[in-house]
């Protein structure tokens, strides 16, 4: 068993038994379901809008080399500097070099999951830079020293009392149980940091090839401030974030907001093209983009699952996933949680170590239904299971499948096997069965019927 699987099984078991926490998560998501449905109802045809969104991403991802080249040419024409990173280490080195050249001291960041993927904060802090996460949820998680719980709602699992204690401990503020007051504490604390920071680091939601702009979606205004006040703006983005035209955003931006957070549109959707232009009064002097592969091309090379690169990170699949709601986001042990995380993590980090996430699914398909860009999520979980069984089958896989294959081909063996199974079922109940332990711990085997289905059918249809 891989380490990641052992940790996952332990954490998932503990969390699934925590009824209080599960109820808290369900309650937190309650408002989301209502708002999402209200906003979806404003679409004159949500299903077809999903087609349009899916097609916009499909056409860019399947022509990635050309679209990316176009984006880069236009980005550079706008005065930005492009950096390429094959993996996390290269991306970190690039950003450290920019910070070093700029003799930076303070760095302010707005929410960027790609930076979590490459563990950027650790690297910057080790090199002696002060790094502050400015998104409220990320700020709270940074103070807690914990990874985000949900890649859109990073601290949705933390109760207000805990946040109040955290602020008292780190910021010296008076305790309060008001979410509004807690938000204002963070607002006051972070405002001066934007003004003082030398470098602002953001992610990117879309890279627009036609114009060379990057698009950033956020609710709080922290990304706007991060890209407005510091002298240098660095955006870190996966190479798959590219879209062909500005016009594609007319579908993608509202659908991202509605699917992910139940909003008509996220509060700030901002397009940046280059550093401060001649005649503009503010904005950074330098604008860098770091384009990261980090095994995305491995996923691209799998045509069956290539559509997982269409993901716009809205988080809708997490919000509807019964597994996510029961085991929570931290148990995954991945940068990207929930169904999309279970699909892509084996590609990014290795199938053998991360295939267990694809097994942790009831295959109910709620994720696939929720996905605004129509990623076939629950089938991809099956594809991962199949690929893992093919790549490195366990002894159980081989015994079971060969045995099943043998028995199913002979009607006599099938019938006899069934008879033996029905007769011995009460006995099996009491035996410690291999591979069934986890299942049997909380469940009884069903009572065996006295006759097989085939016998009953014969009797009723003579």
């Amino acid at each position: 068993m891989s380490d990641s699987k052992a940790i996952f099984l332990k954490d998932a078991t503990v969390n699934a038994a925590d009824g209080d926490q599960r109820a808290f998560i369900r309650k937190a998501l309650g408002g989301y379901y209502t708002n999402r449905d209200l906003q979806k109802a404003r679409y004159r045809d949500w299903e077809r809008a999903r087609d349009a969104a899916s097609l916009a991403k499909w056409s860019a991802v399947n022509d990635l080399a050309n679209v990316l080249e176009k984006f880069v040419a236009n980005f550079e024409r706008n005065g930005g500097v492009v950096h390429w990173a094959r993996d996390a280490a290269e991306a970190r080195a690039i950003i450290l070099k920019i910070a070093e050249d700029a003799k930076a001291k303070a760095i302010v960041k707005s929410k960027c999951m790609t930076s979590e993927e490459i563990h950027l904060n650790d690297a910057l802090e080790k090199a002696g830079y002060g790094v502050v996460e400015s998104d409220l949820g990320e700020f709270i998680q940074q103070l807690r020293g914990e990874a985000p719980y949900h890649f859109v709602f990073p601290c949705m699992h933390v109760k207000r009392e805990a946040i109040s204690e955290l602020f008292t401990k780190h910021l010296g503020t008076a305790p309060t149980d008001s979410p509004e007051e807690l938000t204002m504490i963070a607002r006051r604390h972070l405002r001066q940091l934007y003004v003082d920071a030398d470098i602002g680091i953001t992610g990117a939601n879309f890279l627009v090839a036609e114009t060379g702009q990057i698009s950033i979606t956020e609710n709080e205004g922290n990304a706007r401030l991060t890209a407005a006040l510091p002298r240098i703006h660095i955006a870190l983005s996966g190479i798959e974030k590219v879209v062909n035209n500005l016009d594609d955003l007319s579908v993608l931006l509202p659908m991202l907001a509605t699917a992910g957070a139940g909003q008509p549109m996220t509060c700030y959707n901002t397009l940046y093209s280059g550093p401060r232009k001649k005649g503009e009064c503010d904005g950074p002097e330098e604008f860098h983009i770091v384009l990261l592969d980090n095994a995305r091309t491995r996923l691209l090379a799998d045509p069956e699952q290539r559509d997982a690169l269409h993901c716009i990170r809205c988080g809708a699949c997490l919000n509807v996933c019964p597994i996510f709601k029961n085991i929570g986001g931290l148990a995954y042990g991945t940068t990207y949680q929930g169904p999309i995380g279970s699909v892509i993590t084996p590609h990014l980090r290795g199938l053998k170590q991360w295939n267990h996430l694809s097994g942790a699914s009831s295959l109910c398909g709620a994720c696939t239904d929720a996905c605004p860009v129509r990623i076939d999520l629950h089938h991809h979980l099956l594809h991962n299971r199949r690929n893992a069984a093919k790549e490195s089958p366990t002894l159980f896989d081989r015994l079971f499948h060969n045995g099943f294959n043998f028995v199913i081909k002979s009607p006599w063996l099938f019938a006899t096997g069934g008879r033996i199974f029905r007769a011995t079922l009460p006995l099996l109940q009491k035996l410690p069965l291999p591979y069934m332990g986890a299942w049997m711990k909380t469940r009884d085997l069903p009572k065996a019927p006295s006759q097989s289905f085939r016998d009953q059918w014969k009797k009723q249809n003579v």
């Binding site: 004159r44 077809r48 114009t211 401030l225 007319s250 700030y268 503010d282 904005g283």
Partner: protein, 226 residues
């Protein structure tokens, strides 16, 4: 060592040698201009100017943004002055624009044309920022500001209150039209920032409970002339 750029492009080209099937769609629409194809499926932005204004008013109300409709520029100045007095603003920053100078002149407090002598520390101390905008999207209640129309990047987001003064003719039905308009207006010389503002700054990060004014403005006013 070959450089990262050519390595990544080589990997992409290699990966794309095997084609992925086109998504299984419920429609036979051909890829084209996404907004044109998808227009009848997306939320309605209104067929007529009046219909768009009605939708805009509904959307802004839901977003907790305040819409103030006035007949002319003089009335706009008066409305903002009343707001300033009621909210007891001490310092107000504004974008140097012909529509805004008379508004600023009418305010009963200290005013500052922020883009003429930009200073981020001074802007941080302002109670309100007044800007114009590129266009207004009825469909979503979004206001498109840019570094060209809104005194740079920070003026529309750093002060605690954001006031937008615009002409009713700047309202467009949907996002597709707002993007097309920006492209037609600026061509390949886009302002370095274009931002769709949809309501006052907000967060739900604490227990998914909505709080306005996370980092950006707590209040958003749209004063629409005509």
């Amino acid at each position: 060592m070959s450089d990262a750029r050519s390595d990544i492009f080589a990997r992409i080209r290699e990966a794309l040698k095997v084609k992925a099937p086109k998504p299984h769609l419920k429609t036979d629409a051909n890829p084209g201009k996404t907004s044109t194809v998808a227009k009848p499926w997306l939320p309605d932005g209104g067929e007529t100017a009046d219909a768009s204004l009605t939708i805009l008013a509904e959307q802004l109300a839901k977003l907790k943004a305040v819409l103030i409709r006035v007949p002319d520029k003089a009335a706009a100045a008066k409305a903002v002055a009343e707001l300033s007095a009621a909210k007891n603003w001490k310092k107000v920053a504004f974008h140097g624009h012909e529509l805004l100078r008379p508004v600023a002149a009418s305010l009963p407090c200290e005013t500052w044309e922020a883009d003429a002598s930009f200073d981020k520390q001074r802007l941080e101390g302002c109670d309100a920022g007044i800007t114009t905008c590129e266009s207004i999207v009825a469909q979503l209640g979004s206001i498109l500001v840019s570094s060209a129309t809104s005194g740079g990047r920070a003026l529309s987001v750093l002060p605690h209150v954001h006031v937008v003064v615009a002409e009713a003719s700047q309202v467009v039905p949907d996002l597709g039209e707002a993007l097309a308009l920006a492209k037609a207006r600026h061509g390949d010389q886009m302002p370095s920032m274009l931002s769709f503002i949809t309501g006052p700054s907000r967060t739900g990060d604490i227990e998914r409970i909505l709080v306005l004014g996370a980092h950006g403005p707590k209040e958003l006013y749209l004063v629409l002339v005509g």
